[in-house]
C-alpha cells in the first residue's frame, strides 16, 4: 500500500475543482493479480504453409501493401528465384489455403507475386550470402528445380554448373509451357538473374550422351533435375502413324517458333496440363480441337483455370472416353476409334478408375492426334548404383539418393509434377547439398527449417540471414480461420484480373492473363488478414485497459508488455484480429 496519507481538505479553496486524485495508482501493481500471461507469437499463415516453393507469402503481401514492391521482390528472392514465372504458371495452392476464402474470396496471391516479380527488372542483385567455398556442384537439367538449386548453391558460395541438353535453359518452362501462359522474355529475365548470382549454364550438352557420366566425377556433388520427357504410350494400334504427335513434341515445336500444320481437326488424348496446353495451342493454330479424357472433370489433373480458359477458347472436352485404335489410310491418320467409360473403384492415386463400357465404340475423324497422357523420365542411362523406385530416382526427404553426394529433385524424382513443387525440391536439395559439403547433419537441422507442417523449407532460415529470417515465425502451428477476430475485417471483393479477349487470343500466342494494375494490386494486398503475423495494427495497444502495452514511438515495430501492470485479462488476445498473440499459464 501507499505510504501517502489521505488528504483532508479544510477549506473550499484548497479543494480541486473537479473529481481528481492528485496521487497516482502506480503503486498498485496489478500485475500481481495475473495468472495468465500474454505473449506476442508470430505464427505460420496458411498461405505460407500452402506454398510448395516456400515463399513468405504474408511477408511479401505486407510489403506490397506498404507500397514497397522492391522489398517484396527481395523477400521472395530469398526463397524463390522465379517469382514472375510462378506468378504466371503456378496453380497457387496458397490461395486454396487462404483463410480469406472462408470469409469472401481468397487473396489473389498468385497475381500479387507476379506484380512483385515483374517490377524493378532486372531485379536488384541480392547479396551473395556466404564467402566462396571452392566447392563445385554439377546440376543436370535447367528446369525450375535445377535453376533453383543452382541459384541457392551459388548464393551459398559454391560453384554450380548446370548442364542443359537443349539449346536454351528453362526446361519445361522454356519448351513445355506455351508463350500465352509464360512469355519467353519473362523467363529469360529471371534466368539471367539466376546466372548473375554466379551460376554457369552449359547448353546443348546432354549428360549420358555427349558428356559421359564420368566427366562429373571431379564435382563435389551432383544434383539430378532431369525432368520427364518421355510421353507414355497409349498402347493401341497405329499409335505411331503419321499425324500422331506427342504433346511434349508439339509444345516443343511451338516453343521453337514453328507452326505445325495440324489440318482441320485435332484430337487430344489426355487430361493433364500438357493435354490442355496442347489443345489451347492447337486452337490458336486454327484447328478444331476435341479433347478426350477417360475420367470425369473432377479427376482431371490439369489446373482448373486452364481447363475453363480452354473451354472459353472453343476447345471441346469429352469426358469418360478412351481410345481404342487410331484409324489410318496408308499409315496416315484419318481418325480414331474410342469407347465410353464409367468410373469404378478408386485407384492408388485415389481417383476413380475408368472402366470401359462394352459395345460403346464410336469413331471420330481427325487430321492430327496428340497424345498427352503423362510423361516419364529417361533414367535408364544413370549408373546402376543410383537406386530407382516406381520408375523414378529414389530419394530421401532431403533429396539425397542412395549415393550420398548425389541428390535429385523435380519431376524426375517426385510423383507430383508442377513448377512450385519442383522449386521447393530444388531448395531442399540446395540446403542438403550445402550441409553435405560442410559435413553438417542436415537431418538434425531440417525440422527448424520447415514452414508449417507440410515440410517445405525456408532457405533464409537455413542461412539464418535475410528479411524472412528476421521475421522468424516462432510457431509452426498454422492459424485457422476460427482463430481470427473477424470484427476487424470487412467483406471486400477480390480484384478482377484482366484477361485478353477471346477474339484476340485466337490466332496469336499473346499472353492471356494481363495481371493487375499497381493500384488494384495494392488494394488486393490490403485485403490480407496477415494471419498469425503482427502488423502493428495497434489493437492491443489501444484496448489494454491497464496501459500495460507499450510502444516507444508511433513508428515502433514492436510492443512491450509491462508485466508490472498486465493483469492477464486477455483483452489484447481477444482483440488481436490475426491471432498473433497467445496466452500462457503463469509459471
Amino acid at each position: 500500500m501507499s505510504d501517502e496519507k489521505p488528504i483532508i481538505y479544510q477549506t473550499l479553496e484548497e479543494m480541486p475543482e473537479y473529481v481528481i486524485s492528485e496521487g497516482s495508482m502506480l503503486w498498485n501493481k496489478t500485475g500481481s493479480w495475473r495468472y495468465l500471461r500474454p505473449r506476442y507469437l508470430n505464427r505460420t499463415p496458411p498461405c505460407n504453409q500452402g506454398c510448395p516453393a516456400g515463399n513468405d507469402v504474408e511477408g511479401f503481401i505486407h510489403l506490397l501493401e506498404k507500397g514497397e514492391p522492391d522489398r517484396a521482390l527481395q523477400l521472395i528472392l530469398e526463397e524463390n528465384p522465379l517469382p514472375a514465372v510462378c506468378g504466371r504458371v503456378c496453380y497457387h495452392p496458397c490461395e486454396s489455403a487462404c483463410n480469406r476464402s472462408h470469409f469472401d474470396d481468397p487473396i489473389a496471391i498468385h497475381t500479387l507475386e507476379r506484380i512483385a516479380g515483374d517490377q524493378a527488372l532486372p531485379p536488384m542483385p541480392t547479396e551473395q550470402t556466404r564467402p566462396a567455398s571452392g566447392k563445385t556442384v554439377a546440376i543436370i537439367g535447367s528446369g525450375p528445380s535445377g535453376l533453383t538449386a543452382a541459384y541457392h548453391l551459388a548464393r551459398m558460395g559454391h560453384q554450380p554448373t548446370v548442364y542443359e541438353a537443349l539449346a536454351e535453359p528453362g526446361g519445361l518452362l522454356r519448351y513445355g509451357i506455351p508463350e500465352y501462359r509464360l512469355p519467353k522474355v519473362i523467363l529469360k529475365r529471371e534466368i539471367d538473374h539466376i546466372i548473375s548470382q554466379g551460376v554457369e549454364i552449359i547448353c546443348n550438352q546432354k549428360v549420358g550422351s555427349n558428356i559421359p557420366w564420368s566427366d562429373l566425377e571431379p564435382f563435389d556433388s551432383v544434383y539430378l533435375s532431369l525432368g520427364v520427357h518421355q510421353t507414355r504410350q497409349l498402347g493401341i494400334p497405329a499409335e505411331n502413324a503419321d499425324g500422331v504427335l506427342t504433346g511434349l513434341d508439339f509444345l516443343h515445336s511451338i516453343s521453337c517458333g514453328h507452326s505445325p500444320d495440324l489440318g482441320e481437326n485435332t484430337i487430344i488424348i489426355g487430361g493433364g496440363n500438357s493435354a490442355i496446353d496442347s489443345a489451347r495451342c492447337a486452337v490458336r493454330l486454327g484447328s478444331r480441337v476435341l479433347v478426350f479424357y477417360h475420367r470425369s472433370r473432377r479427376e482431371m489433373p490439369a489446373f482448373a483455370e486452364e481447363v475453363s480458359e480452354a473451354l472459353k477458347e472453343g476447345v471441346n472436352i469429352n469426358f469418360l472416353t478412351q481410345p481404342v485404335k487410331i484409324l489410318t489410310e496408308n499409315n496416315r491418320v484419318t481418325g480414331i476409334q474410342l469407347r465410353s467409360t464409367k468410373l469404378g473403384s478408386p485407384d492408388e492415386s485415389g481417383r476413380r478408375r475408368p472402366e470401359p463400357i462394352p459395345n460403346s465404340e464410336f469413331s471420330v475423324n481427325a487430321d492430327t492426334i496428340i497424345k498427352a497422357i503423362g510423361e516419364t523420365g529417361d533414367i535408364d542411362w544413370l549408373p546402376p548404383e543410383i537406386q530407382r523406385k516406381n520408375g523414378r530416382i529414389a530419394i530421401n526427404m532431403f533429396g539425397q539418393t542412395s549415393q550420398k553426394n548425389i541428390f535429385a529433385g523435380g519431376d524426375v524424382a517426385l510423383s507430383e509434377h508442377n513448377v512450385a513443387i519442383a522449386i521447393g525440391s530444388g531448395k531442399t536439395a540446395a540446403c542438403a547439398i550445402d550441409a553435405f559439403l560442410h559435413d553438417v547433419d542436415f537431418e538434425a537441422v531440417h525440422a527448424e527449417l520447415t514452414i508449417g507442417e507440410k515440410g517445405t523449407i525456408s532457405v533464409s532460415r537455413y542461412l539464418k540471414q535475410g528479411e524472412a529470417h528476421k521475421k522468424q515465425l516462432e510457431s509452426g502451428k498454422v492459424v485457422s480461420f476460427e482463430e481470427l477476430n473477424l470484427n476487424y475485417f470487412k467483406k471486400t471483393a477480390r480484384q478482377k484480373i484482366k484477361t485478353l479477349d477471346i477474339v484476340q487470343r485466337l490466332g496469336s500466342f499473346d499472353e492471356v492473363n494481363r495481371g493487375l494494375s499497381p493500384e488494384s494490386a495494392k488494394s488486393e494486398a490490403k485485403r490480407c488478414f496477415h494471419c498469425g503475423v503482427c502488423n502493428q495494427c495497434d489493437n492491443c495497444y489501444i484496448f489494454c485497459p491497464d496501459i500495460a502495452i507499450l510502444k516507444n514511438s508511433s513508428d515502433a515495430k514492436e510492443y512491450q508488455i509491462n508485466m508490472d501492470y498486465c493483469k492477464g485479462c486477455g483483452i489484447c488476445i481477444n482483440e488481436c484480429p490475426r491471432a498473433a498473440m497467445v496466452m500462457e499459464e503463469e509459471q
Binding site: E17, V19, I20, G23, S24
Partner: protein
C-alpha cells in the same frame, strides 16, 4: 467567405473551424447532416480528427467524455430521443467538468413519432449541469459552436448549442464562414491542466464521500455563475474579432416598452417583424430574446423586466403538469421584485406546428387585452373544440 448553408452544415463548419480532434456520433434526424458532413471532412482530410462511429447516443457521449478526459477537444450532436438516451452521461460530463460542445437540434419527443421542432428534448436536460444556448439563425449556429469551445474551456462546463429542427437544421441561409486563420487567432488550442496521461498518471472521477461531495457540487454551481459573465465577455470578444457580437440575451425596443414579448430560438425572427410593425403603430412593446437558458440570466432578466407592465412568453415546449418552461423560469427570476410585471404564458408550435407572425400578434393582443394572466399556460393554434 459567404456560403448558402443549411443550419446543420453551419454547425459542421463551426466544428471544423474549432479544430475539433475527436467526433463521436450516432445518426438521428434532424441532426444527421452535421456529423455526415464532418465524417466527409475527416474522410477527405479537410479536418484532422478521429471520427468514431458508435452504436448509440449513450456511447457517443461516453466516448467524448473519455476523449475530453484525455485532453482532446471533442464534439457530438444529437436530437430528441437520442439526447434522452444520453441523459445519465450528461450529468457525468458536467460533474466531470468537461468542456464538451454538443449540438442538439430541437425535435419533439415521441410518441407520436414526430421529427419536427420542439424544445422539449433539451429543456428536459435542464438540470444536468450543461450550459444551454438557443440559436436564432444559421449564422448564430456557426458562431455559437466556435464560442462554445471558448466558453466551455474557460469555465470547465459542457455546452449544448440548440436550434430548431427543419426551421434551421434543413433551411438554407447565407452564412459568413470565417477563415481558419481568423478563428485560430481567437480560439486557442485546448490544453487542459489535467488529463489522462500515462506518463503522469492521475485518477479521475473516484468515490467522493459526504464530506466533500457537496463542496464539489457547490463548485459546479459557482462555475455556472461565472459562466454568465464569461458568455457575455466571449460574445463581445467574438464581436471585436469577427464583427458579430453576442450576449446572454438580446433586447429590442425594451427601454421604454410597457409590454415585453419574450422568445427563444427561431421564433424570435417573426417576432422581430411584429415588434417593428407594432412600434410603427405606436404601441409600447419590446422584444427579449433568450439566448442563454442555462445558466439562467436571472439578474439580466430582472433588470429588463423591472417596472414593466406585462411579460408575454411564448414557449415551444411544455413541462407536463405545469406549463411553458421559459415562462416558469422567468416567473421564478422576478418573483422577489416588488415591481414585477404580470407574466402571460403561451404554448405554441409544439411538434413543428407553425408559429406565424399572425399567431404571435394574436398572442400579444390577447395578453394586452387581459387584465390578469390565466393560472395556467394558454395553448395557442389548436384546432377548434368542435
Amino acid at each position: 467567405m459567404k456560403k448558402i448553408l443549411m443550419g446543420n452544415h453551419a454547425a459542421s463548419w463551426g466544428v471544423k473551424l474549432s479544430r475539433v480532434k475527436m467526433i463521436a456520433a450516432y445518426p438521428i434526424t434532424p441532426q444527421t447532416h452535421i456529423v455526415e458532413e464532418l465524417s466527409e471532412m475527416c474522410g477527405d482530410g479537410r479536418l484532422d480528427a478521429k471520427f468514431l462511429k458508435v452504436e448509440s447516443e449513450h456511447s457517443a457521449m461516453a466516448s467524448v467524455i473519455a476523449s475530453e478526459t484525455a485532453g482532446v477537444r471533442s464534439f457530438t450532436a444529437s436530437s430528441s430521443n437520442g439526447l434522452a438516451l444520453m441523459h445519465e452521461l450528461l450529468h457525468w460530463a458536467a460533474g466531470a467538468r468537461l468542456p464538451i460542445v454538443m449540438v442538439n437540434v430541437n425535435r419533439a419527443l415521441s410518441p407520436g413519432w414526430n421529427i419536427w421542432a420542439d424544445q422539449g428534448d433539451s429543456l428536459a436536460q435542464r438540470d444536468t449541469g450543461w450550459i444551454q444556448i438557443y440559436a436564432e439563425d444559421n449564422q448564430e449556429v456557426l458562431d455559437s459552436v466556435i464560442q462554445g469551445y471558448r466558453i466551455s474551456e474557460q469555465v470547465n462546463l459542457p455546452v449544448m448549442i440548440c436550434y430548431d429542427a427543419f426551421l434551421l437544421s434543413h433551411t438554407y441561409e447565407p452564412v459568413d464562414i470565417p477563415n481558419q486563420e481568423t478563428v485560430d487567432e481567437w480560439l486557442p488550442p485546448f490544453e487542459p491542466e489535467n488529463f489522462l496521461d500515462p506518463d503522469n498518471p492521475k485518477a479521475f472521477y473516484g468515490l467522493v464521500m459526504p464530506d466533500n461531495y457537496m463542496e464539489l457540487r457547490y463548485r459546479l454551481q459557482q462555475a455556472h455563475e461565472k459562466a454568465k459573465t464569461v458568455i457575455t465577455e466571449v460574445g463581445q470578444s467574438f464581436g471585436n474579432h469577427f464583427g458579430r457580437s453576442y450576449d446572454i440575451l438580446e433586447t429590442i425596443h425594451c427601454e421604454d416598452a410597457e409590454t415585453i414579448l419574450i422568445t427563444s430560438s427561431s421564433i424570435t425572427s417573426p417576432a422581430r417583424l411584429l415588434i417593428e410593425k407594432q412600434r410603427k403603430e405606436g404601441r409600447k412593446i419590446g422584444l427579449l430574446k433568450m439566448r442563454m437558458f442555462r445558466p439562467f440570466p436571472t439578474e439580466a432578466v430582472q433588470q429588463i423586466l423591472r417596472s414593466k407592465k406585462k411579460a408575454v412568453v411564448i414557449d415551444r415546449n411544455c413541462s407536463w403538469g405545469k406549463g411553458g418552461i421559459f415562462a416558469d423560469e422567468i416567473k421564478g427570476a422576478i418573483a422577489n421584485l416588488t415591481d414585477a410585471p404580470q407574466v402571460y404564458s403561451f404554448i405554441a408550435g409544439l411538434g413543428g406546428k407553425s408559429i406565424t407572425p399572425a399567431l404571435i400578434e394574436d398572442i400579444v393582443n390577447q395578453a394586452e387585452e387581459s387584465n390578469k394572466p390565466q393560472p395556467a399556460s394558454v395553448w395557442m393554434g389548436l384546432k377548434p373544440l368542435n
